[in-house]
Amino acid sequence: MIMLEKRPQPSRGWTFATPVVAVVLTMFFGGLLFAALGQDPLVTIRTIFLDPLFSEFAWFYRPQLLIKGAPLVLIAIGLSFGFRAGIWNIGAEGQYIVGAICGAAVGLAFYPIESFVIFPLMIIAGAIGGLLWAMIPGILRVRFGTNEILVSLMLVYVAEQLLASMALGALRNPDGMGFPGSRNLSQYDSAANLEIIAGSGMHWGVLTAFLAVILAYVALSRHIFGFNVRLSGQSPRAARFAGVNPGMLILSCMGISGALAGLAGLFEVAGPAGQISIDFNVGYGFTAIIVAFLGRLHPVGILLAGGLMALTYIGGEIAQSNLGLPIAAIQILQGMLLFFLLAVDVLTNYRVIWGRQVA
């Protein structure tokens, strides 16, 4: 019989080993799955995990990795604060949309004036938009004790409707011959989120994501705010005893995650997406939840997890087009990753005892 015994304290070794073991297990069982689908498992795994980085077309895929990874990392970093404190903002997708709308609206308001202040103003507007959208569930939770999971999630659907109405109404391109969607911001120099180094995929959002990783790392490990966040998540009563104001902490965590999601939305709308359109959002806000947990809510972990998640997206697309693999198979692979991570995670806090050890 197998038994689990709680460790006196979490194992450091396993904390680092679990993500690696989870990836290896995912590759193995993913390979079995692909074999069952009639594919060569080795080729498929290579296509998904290695081709985006090392194939002859890698020059095309590598920038994609940054473009897909940056919003995931940026949003996940914001979410990680709340998740560590036990505040469950599930609605980053909505904050991402509202950030994009607000940022884009500021940019479009200036059209066609060219000025270097426009893009910074858009960035601020994007952050504030996401922040305010996140304040709705935050304030409702603090004032009335509503459940922030439900409210933030439902606000995603409100934001989607808002997005549609903006694309069809207020922000529609006046020169667009009635088609839905705003002007293309990436073709409006003062408002465009351009690549910092041409062809690298390195736009301002990527830079911001890296900065967020560093700042989050410092905040969590060196600053009293990060300490209070961790304390509140682990022992809410001890946090109150330590002088943490729970309401302020909820608002701060919601605010940070909302602002970063809003920023991600702004960088996306002004860069890779280019315009506000009905189907502008593609689920980064939800995938970022997986990224945050895959990265153990640790900034560096999130950076790696964001890269890995972006890799499976791009690799999945390659496998779809080159090998004819169904998209569902890729989604199963991503699900497996989270599944194995959570399963192997048990070993961080528990040790396995095999039954025959009984004395």
Binding site: S235, A242, G243
Partner: protein
């Protein structure tokens, strides 16, 4: 002598870095009341967990009624006739007694049948308990009865009790002992773990003393003095705290009509508490848990705000101040619950040092933490209070209860407070550690701090307090000099603090 009920031979259990039990052997006969004595970390908990099937020994064997006994889990132990009452109750506040008991059963019969059985067992053993009452409304003593009756319904051959009297009033202890004696007379053996040596002397037939995981002695507690047993446990001469006589100083803390609503459904409202605490004195507050102790500490620590003018510290109104502002001016508190309130279990001791000491010890600047300083402060606490741990990087949950308590109390004392409020400072702490904590509190008072000690342990309060007051249903009796108070007077104060003055006249 007949076949023993339980025979332990050479039980050994090691954890990484420590040997919890080493070659432990002893026997318990049917109907015997056997005491298990030892300091915190001596291995008592590991040993009873082994017997109860929660821990597997690395070596050694057990035999129950001559048959090999190796329970793989508590269910197997229960099936074999071993029952246990834990120090911490596992009851649901919002459910009634019968429902709570049904939850612990494999195949619970209908509620009505359980209620009937609870009534008959409670009559039979003189443990008054109404199966229809909601557990949240019960006193600690009554909650313990729920746990005991839950065990008795299994008809156990061996009943293990871990620190059963730490939460009971003297009257409740009497009831409990009567029950235990009756059980013993009917042939049920009892393995009794306690720090209270006088209790063991009145109740137990035999005692096994553990130190550092090994059996260091067996004795007949009725023939051995409490002091001798304590010294056997500690392995050294025991220091009784010494109290220096001193004149009382100025009032530092004044409560004027402190009232507060109950913070949650099962809390207690504070009603019109008036109190003045002077520099250099130890004020003992007695009373059964659940009479407003937690709320009083919360109101003083700043976790619970109070109305204007109710709490004055050196003349300033502090009732609205948050916890860290109070710490800054010297008003410190240590709540009762160590795990999850006074300390965060999964955080390291260094991080737990930051928890309350960041303001007074300057562990932050501009919001950034000084990890080095925090670590050395944690190290100082560990050294000064003899906290047994490999180092400050270990998680709080890896410490035994008593060790964590020493850390938590030490953390506040080392910040040299001017007023220190402690709730149950020695709860679940062994004799020598408790003596050390009490001595530290006395030393603190001698240096001029005012110390408020809230405790259920009357012996402790009488030992260290200058003045004594009782808390009952959120009301505080007028404090009286502790010296010369008789047990009867204390009992009356505890029984109803509000009409204490009249009772005093009668007494």
């Amino acid at each position: 002598m007949t076949e023993p009920l339980l025979r332990l031979s050479g039980l050994t259990k090691g954890y990484p870095g420590v040997v919890a039990n080493k070659d432990v052997s002893f026997t318990i006969g049917p109907g015997e009341v056997h005491a298990l004595l030892g300091e915190n970390g001596a291995g008592k908990s590991t040993l009873v967990k082994t017997i109860y099937g929660l821990v597997k020994p690395d070596a050694g064997t057990m035999a129950l009624e001559g048959q090999p006994f190796q329970p793989a889990e508590p269910r197997a132990a229960r099936a074999a006739g071993v029952a246990m009452v834990f120090q911490h109750f596992s009851l649901f506040d919002a459910m009634n007694v019968a429902e709570n008991i049904a939850l612990g059963m494999e195949n619970p019969p209908p509620q009505a049948e359980i209620a009937a059985r609870v009534r008959s067992v409670s009559d039979q053993y003189g443990l008054p308990l109404d199966p229809d009452r909601i557990v949240g409304e019960l006193s600690a003593g009554e909650r313990q009865r729920v746990e005991i009756i839950r065990c008795l319904l299994q008809d156990p051959k061996l009943l293990i009790m871990d620190e059963p009297t730490s939460v009971l009033t003297p009257q409740e202890v009497e009831i409990l002992f009567k029950t235990l004696r009756q059980l013993s007379a009917e042939g049920t053996a009892i393995l009794y773990i306690s720090h209270k040596l006088e209790e063991i002397r009145t109740l137990c037939d035999n005692a096994t003393v553990l130190r550092l995981g090994q059996v260091v002695g067996e004795c007949d507690p009725r023939q051995t003095s409490a002091r001798d047993m304590a010294e056997l446990m500690v392995g050294a001469t025991l220091h009784v705290p010494e109290k220096a006589e001193k004149p009382s100083g100025n009032t530092v803390l004044a409560l004027a009509g402190l009232s507060a609503k109950a913070p949650h459904q099962f809390g207690t409202a504070l009603r019109e508490i008036n109190l003045e605490v002077r520099k250099g004195e130890v004020l003992g507050i007695g009373g059964v848990a659940g009479n407003g102790q937690d709320e009083l500490v919360a109101a003083l620590s700043g976790e619970m705000k109070s109305a204007k003018g109710m709490i004055r510290y050196k003349g300033d109104d502090v009732g609205q101040m948050p916890p860290n502002a109070r710490r800054k001016i010297g008003l410190l508190a240590a709540p009762e619950e160590r795990m999850g309130h006074a300390a965060a279990p999964d955080m390291s001791l260094t991080e737990n040092a930051i928890l309350t000491a960041m303001t007074r010890q300057n562990l932050t600047s501009k919001g950034f933490l000084h990890w080095g300083k925090a670590r050395s402060f944690a190290d100082e606490v560990i050294a000064a209070f003899d906290v047994r741990t490999p180092g400050p990087e270990n998680a709080a949950r890896s410490l035994s209860g008593g060790n964590l308590q020493k850390f938590v109390i030490g953390r506040e004392i080392m910040q040299s407070p001017e007023v220190l409020v402690v709730n149950q400072p020695t709860w679940g702490v062994d004799a020598s550690a408790a003596a050390a904590i009490r001595q530290a509190l006395l030393d603190l008072a001698e240096k001029g701090a005012a110390v408020i000690v809230i405790s259920q342990d009357l012996d402790e309060l009488m030992e260290i307090s200058d003045r004594f007051a009782a808390l009952n249903e959120g009301r505080l009796s007028a404090p009286r000099p502790a010296q010369g108070l008789t047990v009867e007077e204390i009992g009356l104060m505890l029984g109803g603090a509000h009409d204490m003055e009249m009772a005093h006249v009668d007494a």
